[in-house]
């Protein structure tokens, strides 16, 4: 009876009794969800255009963030101003991500054209290993501080007293949500309205048909890997602003896996809605059911179980394409 009460009644009583706390849980879940969506977007874009599951997306987040912070600390003594150094470091980091996209296309993808998907997947594991070693060699393994203030990201907090309680929003979290929305809208406009965007979608639909109408595979792959690099940089900035820049950022890429299972690997809107849904649900579950009933840390597995349940009913994910193959 006590168990039934703690599963079906007590969580809702708590939500009702402490509404300010419940709002805080919802906000933290939303922020986590937006950040998961950002990571998942990087995976989706590359999969959409090349059918490659990019295992390197997590380390690209680390590499982009380390490049930005490393370049900034290198430039500060020369230019003598934190903000100017950040303004120079940002385009230089984008340049590095573009060079990485070119390198991946030339040295990894192009020689493997026509190979089975699993070979390309293995190649992205190789890219991961290379970036871990190269990143450690160039930047070292120590924790670094994200250049939050030099980038103009607000660092204060906004406090409310809803229902006579206490609700706190970190300005950098608000910035993360706004930036993610801007990035996603820009991406959707680019994919749907521009010629290049249509080419990416065409390539995702049918490689052979797209090539037959003159779409350049190399150009699109470089572009897509570059956009994934930009998303990785944005992810690195917002996650790095929360808890510093280190190789631990790579681990957060695994949080995108259930998002992809839920949203579908080909769907941009699936990545966004899936990410936000998982962020919110796992936070609510952890606070009201996970900690009292399972001793906490249910965020490690909740999202996977939830995604598996969804897959039982929709094997292609919530927004994935239902593919019928005729034999």
């Amino acid at each position: 009876m006590e168990t039934l009460y703690s599963v079906f009644i007590d969580p809702f009583v708590q939500m009702f009794e402490l509404p300010d706390f419940f709002l805080q849980v919802l906000w933290e879940g939303l922020v986590s969800g937006v950040l998961y969506s950002l990571i998942a977007l990087g995976f989706v874009l590359i999969f959409k255009s090349s059918r490659i599951f990019n295992f390197a997306q997590g380390i690209m987040v680390v590499f982009a963030a380390l490049s930005l912070v490393g370049l900034h600390s290198f430039l500060v003594p020369f230019v003598g101003n934190e903000f100017v150094a950040a303004a120079i470091a940002m385009p230089l980091t984008l340049g590095i991500m573009y060079a990485l996209a070119m390198g991946v296309e030339r040295m990894v993808l192009r020689p493997l054209v026509g190979q089975p998907d699993i070979i390309l997947f293995m190649a992205t594991i190789g890219i991961t290993m290379f970036l871990i070693g190269f990143g450690e060699f160039v930047f070292g393994g120590e924790n670094k501080v994200m250049i939050t203030e030099a980038l103009g990201i607000p660092t204060g907090s906004i406090e409310f007293e809803p229902f006579g309680g206490f609700l706190l929003l970190e300005e950098k979290d608000v910035f993360a949500v706004v930036m993610a929305i801007v990035l996603v809208v820009s991406l959707l406009v680019f994919l749907n309205k521009s010629a290049m965007g249509r080419a990416i979608r065409a390539l995702g639909d049918d490689h052979t048909a797209a090539l037959s109408v003159g779409i350049s595979l190399s150009t699109i792959w470089v572009l897509v890997w570059f956009i994934a690099g930009v998303i990785a940089l944005a992810t690195g900035i917002v996650w790095g602003a929360r808890a510093g820049v280190s190789f631990a950022l790579e681990v957060i890429a695994y949080k995108a896996l259930p998002v992809l299972m839920l949203g579908g690997l080909e769907s941009v809107s699936g990545a966004i809605i899936g990410g936000i849904a998982i962020g919110l649900l796992e936070k609510i579950f952890e606070i009201y059911w996970g900690q009292p009933l399972f001793g906490g840390n249910t965020e490690t597995w909740f999202a996977f179980i939830f995604a598996l349940i969804v897959l039982l009913f929709r094997p292609q994910g919530l927004f994935g394409e239902k593919i019928i193959e005729r034999v």
Binding site: L18, A243, E299
Partner: protein, 437 residues
């Protein structure tokens, strides 16, 4: 093509010569492998420590020609703090190794049974399995200068201001990594909780949640604990301290174990974390030994540190202390057995009979840097004690006198768990044919 073939032969011959000379050097020197983690999620903790360990050994080579005139072969094998890779590294390096330094509680537990067979001592300073202190059960394992259970006791003793009964009715959260390391203090804390009537609330942090601990800190906000004790490693520390500041938790009531006290972990929040504390068995400072390291290693461009300021950090200097234990144990063994090139068994004896006195620390230019340490047959930890450090907004400073663990309370639990381990891993050799002398 012919030129290319000749060139290849020259390169191959050169490589062979270098390999042979390296092997010869390895055989001549004191082979001290270190299973490092300079990459991966925990690199932030590992890198400064490994830099300190490496630089002290390099300094001994440069200044003294090694230990007792024998150069040290300090070899790193990268594990990324991954247990499987750690076991691989152990197997790869054990050939000429005099010791193994596994660098994670998970790896330590995995390689411990193998070291009994391979007869190689494990040196796990400040980490590993607390019952390793019982040398009669774990003859080849050493975890100086204090164990996790010692650390847990000393932290509570500090919170209680020396009167454990004052903890009655209090609520203490243990924020810990969900990993063998993070769970290590739980048995002792549960025992203390039952004895002294405080409520213990363990709050686990998963590997993937280290950088986003909002759920854990929402729970802490709801629980309203009197104190939060952290058993964190790597990126978990910065994540927790950032969330503590964000949620307005009284930072002065937040105390970390010695692996949760790296200067780098505090940089993200800086002055906002003023008052955060971490227990430590070393106190950072400008000791004479640091001048030798600057002179013989750093100024010659042989160190991996990025800036001179890195030399003043808690973790870099802790790395020096950890290498000190190994170097002094090797020296003890050389002097006792009258040989320069000692073997693993002799080094094991050196560790068991290690006695670093106050006078010896002064001689080494390390007085006040770390407590004196003496180990023994039934004491493979030394239980030397530790100090409480506090973050003043820019650096860690000492804020307590030496804290000591209550050995009368902890030792029976160590013996009980050691016996349980031996029973579960039967036939466990224990001390076997190794005499205690």
């Amino acid at each position: 093509m012919k030129h290319f073939a000749n060139f290849s032969k020259v390169v191959a011959a050169g490589a062979l010569a270098v390999a042979m000379s390296s092997a010869a050097m390895a055989a001549d020197g004191l082979n001290f492998p270190n299973l490092t983690y300079r990459t991966g999620p925990f690199a932030g903790t590992g890198t400064p420590i490994m830099n300190g360990q490496r630089d002290y050994m390099l300094m001994l080579n440069e200044r003294d020609g090694g230990i007792g005139g024998v150069p040290v072969d300090y070899i790193e094998c990268e594990t990324g703090y991954n247990t499987n890779k750690g076991v691989e590294c152990y197997e790869k390096t054990k050939g000429d190794a005099l010791v193994t330094q596994p660098w994670s509680t998970g790896i330590t537990l995995q390689v411990m049974p193998r070291t009994n067979v391979d007869r190689i001592p494990i040196l796990a300073p400040g980490y590993g399995f607390s019952p390793m202190s019982d040398g009669n059960t774990f003859a080849w394992a050493f975890n100086p200068p204090v164990s996790y259970w010692d650390g847990a006791y000393m932290i509570l003793d500090y919170i209680a201001k020396g009167d454990m009964s004052s903890l009655k009715g209090k609520k203490i959260v243990l924020l810990h990594l969900d990993h063998p390391f993070g769970k290590e203090p739980i048995p002792l804390l549960q025992k203390l909780s039952e004895m002294h009537g405080f409520e213990l609330v363990p709050v686990p942090v998963g590997l993937k949640e280290m950088q986003n601990q909002s759920a854990q800190w929402l729970q802490i906000r709801r629980e309203r604990p009197d104190n939060v004790v952290m058993w964190g490693w790597g990126a978990m520390n910065a994540g927790a301290i950032t969330e503590a500041v964000k949620t307005r938790y009284p930072i002065e009531n937040f105390i970390g174990i010695w692996w949760s006290g790296s200067d780098a972990d505090l940089q993200n929040v800086g002055a906002k974390a003023k008052g955060y504390k971490s227990i430590s068995f070393n106190v950072p400072g400008n000791y004479p030994v640091m001048d030798d390291i600057r002179k013989h290693v750093v100024s010659k461009g042989k160190s991996h540190v990025k800036s001179d300021a890195d030399l003043d950090t808690v973790f870099y200097q802790r790395g020096i202390i950890l290498s000190l234990y190994l170097a002094e144990a090797a020296k003890t063994a050389q002097e006792h057995f009258g040989v320069k090139n000692i073997n693993p068994e002799q080094l094991r004896w050196g560790l068991e009979n290690l006695n670093i006195t106050e006078a010896r620390l002064e001689e080494l230019g390390m007085k006040g840097m770390t407590p004196p340490l003496q180990m023994g047959c039934d004491n493979h930890t030394g239980h030397a004690g530790a100090w409480m450090l506090e973050w003043n907004g820019e650096e860690f400073v000492r804020v307590s006198d030496m804290l000591k663990p209550d050995r009368e309370l902890i030792k029976p639990l160590e013996l009980e768990k050691a016996a349980e381990y031996a029973k579960n891993n039967a036939p466990w050799p224990g001390r076997g044919d190794l005499a205690c002398n």
